[in-house]
Symmetry: C2
DNA sequence: CCTTTAAGAGTCACCCTGACTATAAAGCTG
DNA sequence: CAGCTTTATAGTCAGGGTGACTCTTAAAGG
């Protein structure tokens, strides 16, 4: 609990001689729902350590950047999407990982971010991370560094936030059906939800979704065509939509 | 969204020449409930910038420390409590603040932590922060740096976590009455709760509190003596104890 | 001794929810 | 084309949790 101190201590805690330089990076846990599965954006490492292993996309925070800006910049680079598109994606700070040994080469403190994106076209790898790609959550070996921990934390956070926020719409395209929205919950939580009850709950929450005018067409698949909705302006979900515990999907 | 890059970019994002050194600190938002008010532990700055202003306690992360360890060490130093006592306090990472201009002297990235402590004896200021003291939340001028933002974020987080976790017991001494526990909710949320309903809810949640054997004595004040309880082993609160919106306290 | 204060027991109605049934409208299959 | 499957949507019903409220008990204070 008491470590050696490199310099004289000042009451305000900012002795310029006391600080040790750290590298600061961002790591991205980018989720989407594709083909009825929760998928994660990963890059394959080209060099040691962890050569060949999958890792979260990320990179250094630049001198005049906040971590949030760095995260959005990296997201644009790794997905190959335009800055304008990326600007509208949901990006949220997860937490910071600072174990002294988390990177064997040097002292790196990493601020992790979680991004939720709709089913986008295949990532293009904008020049720099040509091998970034979607993998189903959990369908890979151990990730590099502490990225398994980060990804598990991110998954838990996303699952929890679905309960008490309207975040699920961030996984959906601009216009979506209630079936697609329900699919998000079922995929992230790994459970099956009762269709009528889910519908009743979502429509009873003011501002969660808003109906789109026009014919209730669409749905490439079979079944009765569903009405289209847009995301509402609400962010919180009162009362929450609690995750059922029992039945696995 | 695209900033100049200091060196050649490598696919794995770890070009050793690319990183810029940052100072990494921790800031502590330490809350307690004293005298029916929510109070925060603050230190008065002794030098520029923000000389004389109140600031959150904190300090540098040392070379072989994680941010969490640094936070707990600083908490022990600022409160003057023993390491053993501090080891049991609730300490939780809030988020990281990394605006390039948040400290006018140098590039400092700060990992903020929230601590919840029971009504402890007056902080002693263990040598180093002799002027750390409790102030009622909001009863001070603008804090130094971005600490107003950090503190507001921390307050919001604590209020939200009371809803769906058993965290309120962290504000209480080892043995407490349901009235004291209710006081925590009322103080943090700034609302008044119905006594019987609160009692029913808490006792109906398995593992939230556990009754202490013995006579139902105690309570220095007037009124019928209350039974004592200890914190249970549960951490989550299902279903949540939702914060009422209407009536102010 | 009466008032005040707070703990604790209990009631009641409403709302949300889970479970379930039924109908409509599409695609698929033979 | 007929029937089956699939999905959307409407509706019912019972149980649990909660808000609002009343009442009793047990202390302290004037």
């Amino acid at each position: 609990m008491s470590a050696p101190r490199p310099g004289p201590r000042r009451p305000d805690g900012y002795d310029p001689r006391a600080f040790e330089p750290f590298a600061v990076t961002v790591d991205l846990a980018v989720f989407t729902v594709r083909e009825e599965r929760l998928q994660v954006l990963l890059v394959q490492r080209g060099q040691e350590p962890y050569r060949g292993a999958w890792a979260l996309p990320g990179g250094f925070v630049l001198p005049r950047e906040s971590a949030g800006l760095a995260a959005r910049r990296e997201l644009a680079e790794e997905t190959g999407l335009s800055d304008a598109t990326v600007a509208h994606l949901h990006l949220e700070q997860l937490r910071t990982y600072s174990d002294p040994d988390r990177d064997p080469r040097m002292r790196v403190v990493s601020v992790a971010y979680t991004a939720l994106v709709p089913d986008l076209p295949e990532p293009r790898g904008g020049g720099d991370a040509a091998h970034a790609q979607w993998l189903p959550y959990g369908s890979y070996g151990p990730l590099a560094f502490d990225h398994d921990t980060i990804l598990a934390d991110a998954h838990e956070r996303v699952g929890a936030k679905l309960e008490y926020t309207c975040l699920a719409t961030a996984f959906c395209p601009p216009e979506f059906t209630l079936g697609e929205l329900r699919q998000v919950y079922e995929t992230v939580w790994g459970v099956e939800l009762d269709r009528p009850n889910f519908r009743r709950k979502v429509l009873a929450t003011p501002g969660f979704v808003q109906a789109v005018e026009g014919p209730p067409r669409l749905t490439g698949g079979r079944g009765k065509p569903a009405a289209l909705y847009r995301a509402g302006q609400a962010t919180a979900l009162h009362p929450p939509l609690l995750r059922p515990e029992g039945r696995q999907k």
